[in-house]
């Protein structure tokens, strides 16, 4: 059961963010297993996974905050664990629960952080604080989780990063702020070619802004493709009970299967863009449909007894 990876780069330095063969254990629990990923320049990659899938662990390894047991991650061509100041100045990161410097006021913290970055956008900082109605004099520890997350976002975006990595940035935001954030990401990515990686379990967020999508489940990368390709190259095949017995073996292009309570089968099929879907199951009464991202994620991850195969 390996990852269905579409990007296996030979030269990781060509990608702003990449990792190869990452493994990580916490005690006896395997959190990441052979994860390889590369994000092309200017891409907005949504990393989707259920709680405990390993998203935060993967992100922390990618930005060099956690040491993997095996494998290597690079950011802007440098090993993540040895980032130079020059690369750090081009990298924005928003953790899931921002906590650092929370004894300071919002204004003082942003002033302090701004000193480290020559490209610090003071105007954006002021506008964003006003737009999100956050008083600079408030202490960070007194803010609600959503407000604290907004401040962390302002901090990350005000440095005008080339690479922006966000760990569940919308988890504590209200719908308006979430839409605001997504619009900002899309705008920045479109304007300046910023590369973005953000993790989420809200799939609808991803469909709004992401150009690429990754599914992470139980520490394995199940999918890594562009959003357009995903819709073109993946279908759901629903086989009735009578036909299910005929297709006990894996069929070409099948990447996941699930037995339904009525005895039928639901398969997820993948193909190359120029190839045709297998005709035999359709002839046997199978029904093809194009699942939306959320359905596809559920088909691939949320079923006990589901199986995954390499393409």
């Amino acid at each position: 059961m390996n990852a269905v990876s579409v990007a296996e780069p030979d030269d990781s330095s060509a990608f702003p963010v990449s990792c190869r063969n990452l493994h990580k254990h916490f005690g006896i629990r395997k959190v990441l297993s052979d994860v390889s990923l590369s994000i092309p320049s200017g891409a907005v990659l949504g990393l989707v996974g259920s709680n405990g899938a390993g998203k935060s662990t993967l992100i922390r390894i990618l930005v060099g905050l956690l040491m993997p047991d095996f494998g290597m991650a690079t950011v802007l061509g440098e090993p993540a664990l040895q980032l130079t100041d020059a690369v750090k100045m081009r990298l924005g990161y928003v953790p899931q629960q921002p906590q650092a410097l929370n004894w300071m006021s919002v204004g003082n913290m942003l002033e302090f952080v701004g000193k480290f970055y020559p490209s610090w956008d003071r105007e954006y900082m002021g506008n964003a604080l006003m737009r999100w109605n956050i008083a600079p004099s408030h202490r960070l520890e007194k803010l609600s989780p959503g407000e604290r997350q907004r401040v962390a976002l302002i901090r990350a975006l005000a440095i005008r990063p080339e690479v922006l990595i966000l760990d569940e940035p919308a988890s504590a935001l209200d719908p308006v702020a979430r839409r605001d954030l997504l619009r900002e990401i899309a705008l920045r990515a479109g304007e300046s070619g910023m590369t973005v990686l953000f993790s989420t379990h809200i799939v609808s967020d991803l469909e709004r802004v992401a150009s690429h999508v990754c599914f992470l489940h139980e520490g394995r990368l199940l999918l890594d493709t562009t959003l357009d390709d995903l819709k073109e190259t993946h279908v759901r095949l629903t086989l009735p009970r009578e036909a299910a017995a005929t297709f006990r073996e894996r069929i070409p292009g099948e990447i996941a299967r699930r037995r339904r309570p009525d005895g039928g089968l639901t398969l997820v099929l993948a193909r190359n863009a120029d190839a045709d879907w297998p005709q035999a199951p359709i002839a046997a009464g199978g029904v093809l449909d194009t699942p939306n991202l959320e359905d596809l994620f559920i088909e691939l991850t949320d079923q006990p007894g589901a199986a995954w195969f390499t393409k």
Binding site: K24, H25, F26, G27, R60, V63, G64, L65, L66, M67, D69, L81, Q82, L83, D85, A86, K88, M89, L91, Y93, P95, Q97, P98, Q99, A100, L101, N102, W103, F112, V113, K115, F116, Y117, A152
Partner: protein
């Protein structure tokens, strides 16, 4: 001239904090007078109130003199007419309050001239400190461009009590520390007159112990436990800092970080030791008391550093911090009671037990030092001070 004196007094006292501080100062003067009344009944110990008054007056004088210096800067900036008269009036008020009044108070207690000079020197020390601090702060403010000062940035990253703060906040911290250190003993002196000499001594020792224990907790354990909380990646408080450019991601950076984390508590502990030795000296105790004090204070870092290093090298999950505090305190004060109640002398009387005891102490020392070195080695393996290596 009196008019300008009042105007100057209003100018440098024009905030509620100053009025509260003045009230506190007058209360302390009254408390000191009580102490003198108590100890004068026994014999002359003029140096005790003189030193106390000088020690207490120094931070108040620093506070007031810094207010005066800030007033001067404001008046200069605003080009206020007749600012010279206003400043002279304010200076006159300051000198009357912080030099003349304490000196007159000391003379009214029938202290000798040497003790009066000690009292005035306390004010002079506070004034000097305030002047130096203000010059330094203005130098920083005048520096418009950012010059990377890693130590300063690291102090900010570590947060309170390491982070630079206003001199007012720092003075308040010191005032609190001194109140904690001397407050219980002063209370016993003020309200313990009716006690028998034996009970008074017992209460006094308990008050001294309480003061020193809380002061050690504030000066040593609080900063270190805050550092532990920051470096515990499971709590995640520090990880965002790793990506700030300029905070260092190499071995020297790691060394600098730990130096900054350990240096202020270490200095505070040494200062507490000096204060304890000074307080002991005033009572003219037997020389063994100094050795006991030295052993007691050396137990604090010996008992706590391995725990501190262990928490950083192998972070525990949430809730570990409270246990750390309890662990840090318990070994020190269980051994401490042995030192002060003299039970170790009973051991020393028997040769076998004495040598056994020495061997035991040596083994514990070797274990503590070895453990600390091992943990330091583990910490050195981190690629970055804030990087989590847990597995």
């Amino acid at each position: 001239m009196t008019r300008w004196g009042w105007a100057g007094a209003v100018a440098i006292c024009a905030s509620p904090q100053v009025l509260v501080m003045l009230l506190l100062m007058f209360s302390i003067w009254a408390g000191t007078a009580e102490i003198i009344a108590a100890i004068d009944a026994v014999s002359y110990h003029g140096e005790v109130p003189a030193l106390m008054l000088a020690g207490f007056n120094a931070p108040f004088a620093a506070w007031m003199f810094a207010n005066f210096l800030n007033l001067g800067a404001d008046l200069r900036e605003l080009r206020t007419p007749q600012r010279r008269q206003l400043l002279i009036g304010a200076l006159g008020f300051f000198l009357a309050l912080m030099v003349v009044a304490p000196a007159a108070l000391a003379l009214s207690w029938h202290l000798v001239l040497r003790d009066v000079v000690v009292v005035v020197l306390g004010t002079v020390a506070g004034m000097t400190g305030a002047a130096l601090w203000t010059v330094r702060a203005r130098g920083r403010a005048a520096d418009s461009g950012w010059v990377p000062n890693r130590s300063r940035e690291l102090r900010v990253a570590l947060g309170p009590p390491y982070a630079p703060t206003t001199w007012r906040a720092r003075l308040l911290q010191f005032a609190l520390l001194f109140a904690v250190l001397f407050g219980p003993a002063l209370l016993v002196i003020a309200f313990g007159r009716s006690l028998s000499s034996g009970s008074f001594a017992a209460w006094m020792h308990a008050a001294e112990f309480l003061g020193v224990a809380v002061a050690i907790a504030l000066c040593w354990i609080w900063p270190l436990s805050r550092t532990v909380a920051l470096f515990n990646p499971l709590r995640g408080a520090s990880t965002e800092l790793a990506l700030l450019p300029g905070l260092g991601n190499d071995r020297p950076g790691l060394g600098r970080l730990f130096l900054i984390a350990v240096w202020p508590p270490a200095v505070a502990l040494v200062l507490l030791f000096v204060i304890a030795i000074g307080a002991a000296w005033l009572e003219r105790p037997p020389s063994a008391t100094y050795v006991k004090l030295a052993v007691e204070f050396s137990l604090v870092p010996l008992g706590t550093l391995p725990l501190f290093l262990g928490e950083i090298a192998q972070p525990r999950a949430r809730g570990g911090r409270l246990w750390l505090l309890i662990l840090m305190l318990s070994p020190v004060y269980s051994v401490n009671s042995m030192i002060w109640n003299g039970s170790w002398q009973a051991f020393a009387a028997l040769p076998q037990l004495r040598w056994g005891g020495i061997a035991g102490v040596l083994m514990i020392l070797i274990f503590i030092i070895g453990m600390s070195l091992l943990l330091l080695q583990k910490i050195r393996q981190r690629p970055h001070p804030f990087v989590d290596v847990s597995a």
